[in-house]
Symmetry: C2
Subunit: 361 residues, 2 copies
């Protein structure tokens, strides 16, 4: 690792500590009862993570000449906002693991058996119910955190940011989620690449765009999402988000299970249709195509089956094509950034993007 | 029905129309895609309902000298807020019916089979997933609607109201929901009457208290939830909410199935522990107590079984005691109101409370 990269990571982790401290000590959190709810509420937040979204907020704030403390409530807000979508997502996907530990609904299900006298067949339902409510609380808490900006910003601007979060961001994000659910459950759905990119821009990139807007607004005190430099920074964030999601799907198939925190091929078993699968089906001869379609959504796939699918992806060149697609979005992101004056925060954004695409979990 | 009551209902339904028009024509709604999502999003709102919460907002606004149009965004916000909690509640309860029609997650499940090619065993899961996301969207939309108040109020006051919704209201409401889930799933849970009242104050009364605060704030332009008359009006709303919930539980057992819109005794089958059950268990001799505890949470109860339980409730005097409890909370509500100067809006609030406790569905 270069000295620069070490410096960058040092920077990221220092800020993560600041953000976490802000969240954990918030009155909203102190008032959560009973203790199992508070623990569930903080669970994903305490399982680590690099706080890359808060870092984006802060760096955009600095880029427009703001002090990083001005961005802190917004930085905390986007992390908590991200968390509620994870909690609800895990319920939808019925995932058992996140970052190598049981998902929240699984934790509550296990807890229900041990401590709360909930009979066996009802435990899953109990866990899903409680974690849905936890996600709901986190959703409201995120908006509360964003509204904390009224300590440093004009209230009219705070209202604009809240409306951006509850309007465009939510609509964009949920459109992606809904599409994802529809595709995951439909037998034989074959979305186009454009469809897949649109879904990714909703599921992942919309929140990154919001991070930019929140950061520059906190830094300047003015809400102007479509003026320079917010416009270029949003373009940067959008493309980073899509590149990141493609990369993430690749990792889900060729990554390291221990670092990934969940079994390799779980997307495949769940029937998740990714650009990787799209390219493979486009390129594979009929016989292999049958094999791929048979594997998609087959919850009984063994590690050996998954390895076979991976080899097909490799062989027909789908892996390479997906990687090139991710690279091309990263290229667009860099191009957007190149329109702005060089500065120290700008360099940090470049490092941020690089880190995003290098991450293994 | 008295002339007054007819007048009152006329008034309520006129305002319901205004509120619905505001909601249905909102840009947020126009931007919802695809159409099945928009239909699901508006579903419960289009199934009628008296809009008693919006009416409370409006009347409190008028009581402090405001014009009703000033309260409109807040009135719309509380109705949509109420709706998202219903949608998530129905998923938790796995209820099939609401107001005589399939619940949202059931609608999506049926739709999934007919139009979207989702295989049978996955349809329930699909319906629950989509309706959870719809509830999430309604949650954000409610805050968006509340923030529309910035057209008529100082933004600093709007931020205060948003913080009240995302902080105290949400925490209070969710504490009630969590307790409800815990009790519903625990075998043999025997909460105290105090526990039950606390749960009701969270699940039902917290939002009514918020209606008051939103209404008076919209009317005066000042956020002072703990000063008169908001303090007394909140006391009124809190007690009405508890009375209403006790009444509602009674109706669930002795009401008219057709008007209720769901089978009599469904609370009983779901194992919902109500004040009614509390009183019955306290008063019943050992033999009948066994019968009651056996019936609680038995999903196989026939209409005949439910009738038997109802007779036990009647016989041991639990029905009468629950009714007296509801009356006593209504009494407290009236006492709170009596502290304020007589006025036309005050009379409307009295009628509102009476109507609340007379409603059959």
């Amino acid at each position: 690792m270069s000295v620069d990269a070490v410096d960058f990571l040092q920077h990221v982790s220092e800020y993560a500590f600041e953000v976490d401290t802000y969240i954990m000590n918030h009155p909203f959190v102190s008032l959560l009862r009973p203790s199992e709810v508070r623990e569930g509420f903080l669970g994903y937040l305490q399982q680590g993570g690099k706080r890359l979204r808060p870092f984006l907020v802060k760096t955009c704030c600095e880029l427009v000449g703001g002090e990083s403390f001005q961005a802190l409530p917004a930085a905390a807000a986007v992390e908590v906002y991200h968390t509620w979508t994870l909690v609800h997502d895990d319920i939808i996907d019925r995932d058992d693991l996140r970052r190598g530990r049981p998902t929240l609904h699984r934790q509550f299900a296990e807890h229900a058996g041990k401590n709360n006298g909930v009979p066996g067949p009802l435990r899953e339902h109990y866990g899903q119910s409680l974690s849905m409510l936890i996600g709901d609380m986190q959703h409201g808490f995120a908006i509360m955190l964003l509204s904390d900006l009224h300590y440093v910003l004009d209230e009219a601007v705070v209202v604009e940011l809240i409306r951006e979060m509850c309007g465009p961001l939510l609509l964009h994000l949920m459109a992606g989620e809904v599409r994802d659910v529809q595709l995951a459950f439909q037998v034989g759905a074959r979305p186009s690449l454009k469809d897949l990119i649109e879904m990714m821009s909703g599921k992942t990139a919309a929140l990154l765009e919001f991070c930019v807007t929140a950061g520059t607004t906190a830094g300047t005190g003015v809400f102007e999402p479509f003026n320079s430099p917010t416009r270029e920074l949003r373009e940067f964030a959008l493309n980073c988000g899509i590149a990141f999601q493609i990369h993430d799907d690749i990792l889900g198939l060729v990554g390291d299970e221990k670092i990934l925190g969940k079994p390799i091929g779980s997307d495949l078993r769940e029937g998740k249709y990714t650009p990787l699968m799209h390219f493979a089906l486009e390129r594979a001869p009929a016989r292999l195509r049958e094999r791929l379609l048979g594997a998609l959504g087959d919850s009984g796939l063994t590690a050996e089956d998954v390895r076979e699918v991976r080899e097909i992806f490799q062989e027909v060149g789908a892996l390479g094509e997906a990687r090139r697609l991710a690279e091309s979005y990263l290229g667009r992101a860099r191009k957007a950034l190149a329109q702005l004056e060089p500065s120290e925060p700008l360099e940090k954004l470049e490092q941020w993007a690089e880190f995003l695409l290098q991450r293994k979990f």
